[in-house]
């Protein structure tokens, strides 16, 4: 009778021990994967948003209208002077005739008034692209200082809007990443703390034999590092799948392709490196937290 009881006890103890160890490791890896994917998704969203905003920004041009008194040739001669203005990236000269043709084409010749307008009704102008749209107002003022420039039209409010959206998105992503990093650290620290708890007898024996703290710490640091790396690898591939799904959806969802997503494979090495770096960092720092507290007895 007692033998039967013992056998059952040993078997259940054995399973219990394996399950508890395995489960904690599994839970820690899952948490790292989840944190990395959430972190990665927000970063990828921010990167794509930034990229899309970059596209929109580059379409955000200024128009420099040239004084009517100048002939078209004289107006063309202004190009080098305008190019010298700080922050000017690209200059395109547009004659008044070309401007009128564009205007009419854009409005499909529908508006009767336009038909009667002479080609000379518009001014010669330059289309100007800037490097940095945050300095658009400043650039506008500088361009207006150039002699023979009548006036400069710039959509400052739109430019400011773009800048604000981008800055908010970046800030939100950074805050979220920071919070998730702390949560991951906390969870891995608790996992390692549990691991040290399960091995407290072995640790006590090692200390009694004269093992140094470093010798006792190392296996746990390695354990944390491996958990972090495993999580990073799983997260890398899961993130890939997720990204492809979203990319497919985004392309199908709008034919306009307003969202122009960057391909995952072009960022794969960077993402893998960052995930592994963050995973190992979380694992090592988390386990050091756990052990330092434990060894201070």
């Amino acid at each position: 009778m007692s033998r039967k009881f013992n056998a059952g006890y040993y078997v259940s103890e054995g399973f219990h021990s394996i399950f508890t160890h395995g489960f904690m490791s599994f839970a820690a890896v899952c948490m790292i994967v989840a944190c990395l994917i959430i972190m990665g998704s927000f970063t990828l969203l921010a990167v794509n948003l930034d990229n899309t905003l970059g596209d929109l920004e580059s379409e955000n041009e200024m128009l420099v209208y040239i004084d009517d008194a100048l002939t078209q040739d004289e107006a063309r001669m202004l190009q080098p002077k305008l190019a010298q203005v700080d922050n000017v990236a690209q200059l395109t000269f547009v004659t008044k005739e070309q401007a009128m043709a564009d205007y009419k084409a854009k409005h499909n010749d529908n508006i009767a008034v336009l038909k009667d307008l002479p080609d000379e009704a518009l001014r010669d102008r330059y289309r100007v692209h800037v490097y940095d749209i945050e300095r658009m107002a400043e650039t506008q003022a500088a361009l207006e200082q150039v002699p023979d420039v009548a006036w400069v039209r710039a959509a400052i409010e739109i430019a400011d809007g773009f800048v604000m959206v981008r800055n908010i998105a970046t800030a939100v992503a950074l805050v979220l990443i920071g919070i998730l990093l702390v949560i991951s650290l906390f969870i891995i620290a608790n996992t390692i703390k549990l691991a040290t708890f399960y091995r407290r007898e072995e640790i006590a024996i090692m200390k009694m034999c004269g093992a140094t703290d470093g010798f006792i710490e190392w296996p746990f640091v390695v354990e944390g590092m491996l958990l972090g790396l495993t999580g990073a690898l799983i997260a890398f591939f899961a993130q890939w799948g997720l990204y492809q799904m979203v990319a497919k959806f985004a392309v199908q969802g709008n034919g306009l392709s307003l969202v122009n997503m960057i391909s995952y494979s072009s960022m794969a090495t960077t993402i893998l490196a960052i995930f592994c770096g963050v995973g190992v960092f979380i694992g090592v720092v988390g386990s050091l937290f756990a052990i330092r507290k434990f060894l201070q007895v």
């Binding site: 024996i205 200390k207 009694m208 034999c209 004269g210 093992a211 703290d213 010798f215």
Partner: protein, 229 residues
Amino acid sequence: MIRFIDVHKEYDNGTKALKGVNVRIDDGEFVFLVGPSGSGKSTLIKLITAEIAPTGGRVMVNGFNLNNITPRQVPQMRRTLGVIFQDFRLIEKKTVYENLSFAMRAIGASNRELRRRIPYVLQLVGLEQKGDRFPGQLSGGEQQRVAIARALVNNPNMIIADEPTGNLDPQRSLEIMMLLERINELGTTVLVVTHEKNLVNRFNKRVVTIENGRVISDETGGYYNVEKI
């Protein structure tokens, strides 16, 4: 060598476990530390192993001054000691051989040193045939001999045993004591804590008696005499 000079130990809860203990144990000695339960024997052992710090007096162990030992020196000091407990403290899921190699690896011994040292120590404690057994497959006396082998495996100056026979029947207890005597004859200092009067009286050794936190007698060739108090 161990020196206790007017050592006091008061625990955080106010219990005064040691009240001015003076003891000196020289290299090569065999000493019984006896006394009733709660008299402060384990406290004295824990002071030697630097598990706890004295609240007064001076403690010297094998050339280390434990009053101002640095955390980095503690492991070095512990390598000069081999400690044995009443409850054996073996790792159940490791074999006898693995328990010994675990203790040697803990201080960075090489595989070559392991292969040379472990068979010798197992033979010394009479377990050369049982290296691949698990602790659960051994009797209590055999398990305690594994613990003694583990204490010896890193070649310490001194063996400290806190009630090593507390869980064993009289015949096994006697065998363990004889084994410790043999180890002492081979040159290792031995300090054995016990409260088993009959056992102590079978050996003609130095007996330090502690009662209520004070040493009340210290006689070479003496015996454990509770009635005397």
